[in-house]
Every structure is written in C-alpha cells, then in structure tokens.
Symmetry: C2
Subunit: 151 residues, 2 copies
C-alpha cells in the first residue's frame, strides 16, 4: 500500500470515528495524523513532538498525548511498551500484525510474524476459556551485529 493511500485511509477512518461520536476533526488532529502516517512507522511520543516542532507545528504536549490516545481508540495506532517506561506507537492501518525482536545492546527492533504461534495462542485461549483481544510478544536478546560484543 503506498504511503499516500495509507494517509488517505487513515484520515477517512478517523473522520468516521469522530463523526459517529460527534467529536471534532480539528487542525491539530489533522496535523498530528499527517505527521504520523506520512512517514514513520514506529515512534515515541516525544520524538513525534520534536519532529512536529521541527516542521513549525506547535501543538502542545497535552494535545499530542490526547490525540495519540484517540488514534489508539480509533484503531489506527497500537501502543507498545518494550520494557521501557514510555510508549512506542505503531501503525495498524497499512501494516499487518506482527511481533518484535528487540536488541538489548543497540535497541534495534525487528519485526516478525508467525502463523503457527498465533494458532497455538488461540489454542491456549480456548483452554483458558479466554476471549483474546490482542497480544504482545517480544523476544529480547542480541542482534547479529551485537552478539559478538557481548560476553
């Protein structure tokens, strides 16, 4: 899916979400959405704010956090905690579900997805009479570039 299409789809999805709830599509929300869906896939709130500021867009921290929460509620973003105290956000739209491999030394994050694991997770939920909504899985260790530097 080309990036412009993704942005278009994201705007449409957010517009629908807002309209249904009689919420407003403000310029701030549009600018943040744009910045989120035009480029990067994986980001932290603070880095996003810096990027916005760099483009001369002066939304407040409060609005940024409120908007990110809104985008999560609207199903456009996924919020992740990779063992750190701050959140990472990822696109849902235009990006299939996947899990993560995180390097403990350089911090690099790679993605993977595995149908067999998903299927086994479903088995587990059935056994626990649990109705799954989503899952998070991350494997922590050392990437090929960092594994040799480690003791």
């Amino acid at each position: 899916m080309p990036q412009a299409r993704v942005l278009e789809g994201a705007e449409a999805q957010l517009a629908r979400y807002l309209r249904r709830r009689r919420l407003k599509f403000t310029p701030e929300r549009r600018l943040i959405l744009r910045e989120v869906f035009e480029h990067h896939d994986h980001f932290e709130a603070d880095a996003l704010l810096v990027r916005l500021r760099g483009r001369g867009i002066a939304v407040s921290k409060a609005t940024l956090y409120r908007t990110l929460a809104l985008l999560v509620r609207a199903g456009l973003l996924r919020q992740e905690l990779f063992g750190e105290r701050h959140s990472h956000y990822e696109h849902i739209l235009g990006h299939a579900h996947h899990d993560h491999v995180v390097c403990l030394r350089c911090g690099k994050v790679a993605e993977f997805s595995n149908k067999d694991i998903e299927r086994l997770q479903d088995d587990i939920c059935r056994r626990h009479a649990f109705r799954p909504q989503f899952h998070r899985m991350a494997i922590y260790g050392y990437c090929s570039e960092c594994r040799d530097e480690e003791a």
Copy 2:
C-alpha cells in the same frame, strides 16, 4: 520446591552474586529478599513496601528500588510491564518460565507455558541470527468471568 527451600536458594544465590562483586549483604537486603521469597510470587514495588512496613520493617523507598534492581541483576527476579507504567516483579528462582494471559476488565493474570511456542521462537531467532536472552508474551482479552459482561 517448598518455599523455605526457595528462600534458602535465593539467599545463597544472592550471597554468591554479592561476594563475587565485593558488594555487601546488608540487613536491608536480607529483609527484602525474605519478604520477596517467603510468600508472594507476583508483586509491585509499592505493595511490597506496604507489606514490609506492615511487618515493622522500615526500609526506605530508595533502598527498596535499589534492591529490586539488584535482585533482577542477580537473576532472582524478573521485571515485567503489563502495559502499565509501573513494574511487576516475579520470582525466577523456584518458578519455571511462563507467559501471561491478562484480563482487560478485572486485571486478573493467569500463567501458561507452551513448549511448541518456545520452539517456534527459537526458529525465528535462528532465522534472524539473533541470540535470544528471554522473551515476554502476554495475551490480553477477557477471562471466562468477564467475557459475558463485555459488549
């Protein structure tokens, strides 16, 4: 493994860790270790502090946090973030590796472990030339008691 044995093992492991690094086995460290390994398996820093205070043990917050970090480094505890901004801690010693199922409504956490998933994770790491150290996996959804209350 009976609980008393676990505590014994934990003390031995910590003592070894400290000795090697010429660190000290202070009364505070011993008391915290005891409170951690005598009973509960799954706890939050603040709840632990309250429990200690309830037993008349007045370690400071600073020492508590420093000691928990030490126990993680020494391989006795695992630190988990279940999508909240505070940590949960779990025993490693006396407790086999497992993953979690978390109820989004009542917050209940159940454990599971699955050899097939672990094996598939190893495959993935091999394919990424990644040297895994540990992983975290949590499935979020609704438990049998809460699934009916949800829309």
